[in-house]
């Protein structure tokens, strides 16, 4: 699961409103399998195009700042992010293709590829790492899941799924607790390390209908060891219908 992509690409938007509605009606009749649930949260909207503006609020012990950014995404592995505010960072752009990240720095007019050793570093001063932006893993392949709770027959409550990393899976988490609502949208994900200590919590809130899809407009990351800190991403505008020229995901276009 590419964490930030979850927000930036609307990865979890993939349960379309139509199917979501059907699911709601059918919940009591036929329970979806755990793989279905995970894939729904993980996977499906490949081929989707999106163009969005976002606000990112970061609060740490040392600073609190709000940035605005514009994003373009195609499928799951091509994303371009351009910072538009504040003025000091405006124009800084991040291009992600596959597992590679390049940053364009307008002040010095240079493009730099983030080297492997820096992938664990913070992205734009947030609690997200560069790895979070691009690391791809599929929950249903890398984890063993157990459904620990199901929604009630009257449609209240939600799915709770406990995921344990498979022994040789290339993931940093030992355990993941997933809360998925009746529309198959994740509402809360808790990440634990191999020792079982909570590392961070992601909250998905403010679910709205956008062009016929259910979209959580806000995603909040809470690092467990720093209770006063958070990074919050909020969609200001999101559009799934725009045509995105494919050459936008190139190093030449990055400098634009």
């Amino acid at each position: 699961m590419r964490l930030l992509n979850v927000a930036l690409l609307g990865l979890f938007l993939t349960a379309t409103s139509a199917s979501a509605a059907e699911t709601t009606a059918e919940t009591a009749a036929s329970d979806p399998s755990i793989t279905e649930l995970l894939d729904a949260a993980d996977d499906v909207q490949r081929g989707d195009h999106s163009h969005a503006t976002l606000e990112m609020q970061v609060k740490t012990a040392h600073y609190e700042r709000t940035m605005k950014m514009e994003t373009w995404a195609e499928g799951t592995d091509k994303t371009l992010i351009r910072i538009t505010a504040p003025a000091k960072d405006a124009g800084v752009s991040t291009l992600m293709v596959g597992n590679n990240i390049w940053n364009y720095l307008p002040k010095v007019d240079r493009t730099m590829k983030v080297p492997a050793g820096m992938m664990g570093g913070s992205w734009m001063g947030s609690h997200f790492t560069n790895d979070d932006l691009v690391k791809e893993s599929r929950m249903s392949e890398d984890f063993d899941g157990v459904i620990t709770q199901k929604p009630a027959a009257d449609g209240t409550g939600q799915w709770l799924i406990e995921l344990t990393a498979k022994p040789d899976a290339p993931v940093v988490w030992g355990k993941v607790l997933l809360a998925i609502n009746i529309d198959k949208l994740p509402t809360k994900i808790e990440y634990f390390d191999e020792k079982g200590t909570l590392v961070r919590t992601m909250l998905f809130t403010d679910i709205q209908d956008v062009q016929g899809r259910q979209v959580p407009m806000t995603m909040t990351l809470l690092p467990a060891d720093k209770p006063d800190e958070f990074t919050r991403l909020t969609y200001l505008d999101i559009d799934f219908d725009t045509e995105i020229p494919s050459n936008i995901f190139s190093l030449q276009a990055l400098k634009r």
Binding site: T60, H62, N103, L105, V108, M112, P115, S122
Partner: protein
């Protein structure tokens, strides 16, 4: 009277006396030279590891040494530096700011440990100009210059005249980035720092990291040449600096001597005395056996003569004294000769140095610290006094057995000896 007799006895076997004295003298000379060399090596290590790295004492945020977080700084660094630099007993003072950044040349990128320095003051602590492989040290009045460690320049594939980009997360969370001109490439004296270190003006790094007028360390040198933990000159200066820098709760500051900042350095340098003792022990074991042999032979030869002395009423204590005086005179002579020869060797070591190069021509590296292979001797009066005293003690101890043996002779039996 006894002294004259002892002297005459030594003269009776001139050649034996000379050979024993020569062996002991040469031992003394070589012990002196080796101690001067070892002390020279440790002085050099101390210079690299203390003076040029931590300074002899440091003013810093109390947590910086252990946590090394960017935010643990000394605020109003310029004013505080000015205050401490003017204190009596401060030989050199500089402020440093550290930061991690991604550096990029035309093609390659690498992580780098940035060190923000005051170009002129830094020279009081570290002879940067001697370390330049190419180009020059930072100019105090030029902005956006950078000097790279040799290994880092190689990784980035840049040379003097090229530009590098630095990208880092600044203190305010923004993406700090700047373009610097490479003005020099140096070899720092530390293997790690050569691979990752980059030096730029304190002000430029403060701008990049958004830490205005802040530093992580104010590094100081005292008048002390000592490299032992607990050095009184440094300890006294620590107190002076503490008194001169009032701290408040919002901006805690610690003033620490180098052995507290870097205990590893202290324990490494403490082996200097241990190796000196080892040299003394080995060489004087040899000298002691020589004396024992000479004195035993001399007593055996004179069994008849000593028997006559006892028969004439010489008290055993006198005979013990006689043998001990012979031994002391012998080693005294050896010491005199040894001091002269050792003095010459020390003079050569101090003035010319001794270069031990590896076969590949690389520089020596001990514990990650690179050395210029030419070591200049350091002569310490205490080392010479200890050497001479040890030899004289060995002379007395080694002669005790032959002396008591002589004193216990029974005159009737001894006089019959052939």
């Amino acid at each position: 009277m006894l002294l004259a007799m002892a002297w005459r006895n030594l003269q009776r076997h001139g050649r034996r006396t000379f050979i024993t004295a020569a062996a002991m003298g040469i031992s003394v000379a070589f012990v002196m030279a080796m101690l001067a060399y070892v002390d020279g090596m440790y002085r050099k290590m101390a210079d690299v590891m203390i003076n040029q790295t931590t300074g002899q004492l440091q003013v810093a945020h109390p947590d910086f040494a252990t946590q090394r977080t960017m935010y643990d700084t000394v605020p109003d660094a310029a004013a505080r530096l000015k205050t401490v630099a003017a204190l009596p007993g401060v030989r050199g003072a500089s402020a440093r700011l550290y930061g991690f950044a991604l550096l990029g040349g035309a093609e390659q990128t690498a992580g780098a440990q940035l060190v923000g320095v005051l170009p002129e003051q830094e020279l009081e602590l570290v002879p940067m100009r001697d370390r330049m492989v190419s180009g020059a040290w930072l100019a105090p009045d030029q902005t956006d210059q950078i000097v790279l460690g040799e290994g880092l320049a190689e990784t980035l594939e840049v040379a003097v005249g090229d530009q590098v980009v630095a990208v880092t997360q600044a203190a305010d969370g923004s993406l700090g980035n700047a373009l610097y001109q490479v003005v020099g490439v140096l070899t720092s004296g530390s293997v790690t720092l050569d691979r990752t270190g980059a030096w730029l003006r304190l002000k430029d790094l403060q701008t990049l990291l958004v830490l205005p007028d802040q530093a992580h360390e104010i590094t100081l040198l005292s008048d002390s040449l000592d490299s032992r933990a607990g050095d009184p000159i440094v300890s006294a200066l620590v107190k002076t600096v503490r008194a001169a820098l009032p701290t408040d709760e919002k901006h805690p500051l610690s003033v620490r001597p180098w052995w507290v900042v870097s205990p590893a350095t202290a324990s490494m340098l403490a082996t200097s005395d241990a190796s000196a003792w080892l040299i003394l022990v080995i060489l004087f074991l040899v000298a002691g056996l020589g004396i024992l042999n000479t004195m035993l032979m001399s007593v055996f030869e004179r069994t008849k003569e000593l028997g006559v002395m006892k028969a004439l009423g010489t008290r055993p204590a006198k005979i013990v004294q006689l043998v001990l005086w012979e031994s002391l005179l012998l080693s005294g002579l050896a010491c005199l000769g040894g001091l002269v020869l050792g003095g010459v060797l020390d003079w050569m070591l101090v003035n010319w140095g001794l270069a031990l190069t590896t076969s590949s021509g690389d520089r020596l590296s001990t514990g990650g610290v690179l050395f210029d292979p030419r070591i200049f001797g350091v002569v310490r009066a205490d080392r010479i006094v200890v050497t001479v005293l040890t030899l004289l003690c060995v002379a007395v101890v080694a002669a005790l057995w032959p002396a008591f043996r002589a004193a216990r002779l029974r005159p009737v039996v001894a006089m019959r000896d052939e």
